[in-house]
Symmetry: C2
Subunit: 338 residues, 2 copies
C-alpha cells in the first residue's frame, strides 16, 4: 500500500462559479487506524451540486466547509485496514468521507453495502441519498395522484430522473425539463417520460403550456430561476412544489431576482416546501425498500456519468454547473482491492 | 319603501390602483321577491382588498366581476320583504350580495345571524370570513407552537389583528408589522402583541432582526413585496408561511419582482402555502365556535372602521390601498328597519 496519498482541499471560497484555483491538491501520509477505526480506500467519489452551498460561509442545513480542510462528500470505498470487529479488509462501505485516496474513519462513520444486490455505485445514486431525495420530496411533499401532471426540472440529473420515474410508477403525466437533445431523448425514450422540454432551444413557457394541457399539479424544482418562473402561471388549484435545489442560483454573485410567487400561490392555494433528504432520516428504511424493489422489478433505471481518476475530481464537480452530466456524476478514484 | 335605489357597477377594469372613474353609480327599481326569494335591505357593506383581484379578468379562485354589473361582496342586511317561509321581515342576514341598497336573493343565498350574540357587523369581520381566514391560515398552515415566534404583516388590518391575537392565545411571541404609529400602539397596547414594527419609518430588516432574536417560525403574509422579502433571511428550520394576501402587488402594473425564495426555503426546509378561506368551508363550524368563544371570553378584540353612507362605498374601498383603515373596513348604508 502507498505511504502517501493525494487530497483535495478548499483553498478559497468561490466567488460565483467555482474555478480550479479555489481548490488545492495536497499530499499527506496514509494514516493507520487505532482501535475502533478503519482505513477506507476510496473507490468512487460523488460530486453534487449542493456541495457548492457548503463552500460558502453562510448558515444552512449543514455546516460550511473549512478553508484548507479536505472536502467531504458521499464516498464508496473498501476497507483497506480494520481495527474494528465489525469490518474486515475488502468490505465495501459507504460514508461521508474525504476527497482523498484513503480516509481514516470511526466505525460508526461508515456503513457496509452489499455488492451482490446492486453495483456499488448505485449506493451513491439511486439506492443512496440521491434516490431518497427524489423519493421523499416527490411522495411526501409532491404527493402525485394518478392522472395528475408532474413537471420536473433538472430532469436528466440524478435526482430528477428518479423523480420522473417514480411519478410514472404513481400513474402521473410526467414532463421533464433538461438542457440537451441527448437528455431529452434519454428522458422520453429510455425513462418513459411523457414529454421533455429542452430549455436551451425551446421557449419554456410555451413548451410547458403545450406539454401540460391540464395544468401542473406537482412541480419538483431542482433548478430555480427562470425555468421555475415559467411554471407558476400554469399551477392548478392545490398544486405542490417540492423545492429541492436551485442550481441556477448557486453561483450567482448578483441577487437572484425574479417574479414574486405570492400572488400565484394565493390564486391557486398552492404549496411550496423546501427540503433536504436529512429531514426524512427516520424514514430512510421505508424509502430504500421501495427503491430497491422498483430497481429489481425494472421499473427504475439510473444512469451514471463516471469520470476516471482522482485528478479529475474537481473537473467533474465543475462540469455539474455546465449541465454536462447525465444522471449521477461520480469519480472513479481507484480499482478494487484484490 | 323607496321604489328606486342606487347601485355601484364596475365600469372599467382598473389599470394599476383603482380610481373613482373605474366605477359607476346607477339607479334601478327596487325589485319584488317571487316565491322562495327575499328582498334584503343593505345595512353594512364589507369592502376588502381581495376584491381588487376580481376586478381583473384573470383566472383565479373566484370568477372575475363582469363589466357593467353590480359589484358583490359580504353584506349584512335585514329582510325587507319575504316570500320564503324561512325568513320574516326584520330578520338580520348575511350573504355575498350587491353594492346596492336592496338585493333580491334566493333563500339559500343568505344566512340568518343573531344580533344578540354579537353586534351584526361582527359577522362581517371577526365572526365571519375575516376571522375564519385568520383562524385557518394561522392554525392549519402556520401551526404556531408555544414559545415560537410569529410575524404577521398587515397586522392592524382585519385579518392581521385576529392572527396576532390567536397566536398570542397559542402562546407565541408575536410581532406585527403595520404602517402608522397609531396602528403600532393599537397592536402593542390594545391587542397585546409583543412587538410591532412601523414599516413606513423603520428599517424593516433591522427591526425584524431585533424583534425576533430567536428567528421566525411562522410568517403570516398579508402583503407580499419588500416587507415579505425581509422575512426570508430570518426563517428558522421548518418555518411555515401562510400566504393570505399580497396587497403590495394587487395594483402593480409592472411585474412584481423581488428576490427568489427557493434558496431560503431549501436552506431552512420551510413551507409556503397560499390559501383562501373557501379552502376550509367544510370546517367553518369548528372555526366559528372557537372564535365565538374567544370573543366572549374577552381574548379576542376587533376594530372596525365604519364609513357612513352608500355614496362613500368606493372611497372606502380605495382607502384600503392607502392603509387608512384600522381593523375591518365597512360602509354603513342605512339604518335598521324599525
Amino acid at each position: 500500500m502507498a505511504e502517501t496519498q493525494k487530497q483535495i482541499k478548499l483553498k478559497k471560497r468561490p466567488l460565483g462559479t467555482p474555478v480550479m484555483e479555489d481548490f488545492e491538491f495536497t499530499e499527506a501520509s496514509v494514516p493507520s487506524p487505532s482501535e475502533g477505526e478503519v482505513l477506507v480506500k476510496t473507490l468512487y467519489i460523488s460530486v453534487d451540486p449542493y456541495l457548492r452551498g457548503r463552500m460558502q460561509n453562510t448558515k444552512s442545513y449543514v455546516a460550511p466547509f473549512e478553508l484548507n480542510e479536505v472536502i467531504t462528500s458521499g464516498v464508496v470505498g473498501q476497507i483497506a485496514e480494520s481495527k474494528s470487529e465489525h469490518f474486515s479488509k475488502g468490505d465495501y462501505v459507504i460514508g461521508m468521507l474525504g476527497w482523498q485516496e484513503y480516509t481514516l474513519a470511526k466505525e460508526k462513520e461508515v456503513r457496509k453495502i452489499d455488492p451482490n444486490l446492486a453495483p456499488v455505485t448505485a449506493y451513491l445514486s439511486i439506492l443512496g441519498l440521491t434516490g431518497l431525495t427524489a423519493y421523499f420530496g416527490l411522495l411526501d411533499i409532491g404527493q402525485p395522484k394518478e392522472g395528475e401532471t408532474v413537471v420536473v426540472s433538472g430532469a436528466a440529473g440524478a435526482v430528477g430522473s428518479a423523480v420522473g420515474q417514480i411519478a410514472k410508477i404513481k400513474g402521473a403525466h410526467v414532463v421533464g425539463i433538461a438542457g440537451s437533445e441527448e437528455k431529452i431523448r434519454y428522458l422520453t425514450d429510455e425513462l418513459g417520460f411523457d414529454e421533455a422540454i429542452n430549455y436551451k432551444t425551446e421557449d419554456v413557457p410555451a413548451a410547458l403550456k403545450k406539454a401540460c394541457p391540464n395544468g401542473i399539479d406537482v412541480y419538483f424544482d431542482n433548478v430555480g430561476g427562470e425555468i421555475s418562473d415559467a411554471v407558476f402561471p400554469l399551477l392548478n388549484r392545490q398544486a405542490r412544489i417540492p423545492v429541492c435545489g436551485a442550481i441556477s442560483a448557486y453561483n450567482k454573485v448578483e441577487a437572484d431576482v425574479g417574479p414574486r410567487v405570492q400572488t400565484a400561490l394565493i390564486k391557486t392555494s398552492s404549496l411550496m416546501k423546501g427540503f433536504t433528504v436529512g429531514d426524512y432520516s427516520s424514514r430512510f428504511k421505508e424509502g430504500a425498500a421501495d427503491l430497491g424493489r422498483w430497481l429489481q422489478e425494472g421499473k427504475l433505471k439510473y444512469e451514471e456519468t463516471i469520470t476516471e481518476g482522482f485528478d479529475q475530481t474537481i473537473d467533474a464537480f465543475l462540469d455539474l454547473f455546465k449541465g454536462a452530466n447525465l444522471g449521477k456524476q461520480l469519480v472513479k478514484v481507484a480499482g478494487e482491492i484484490e
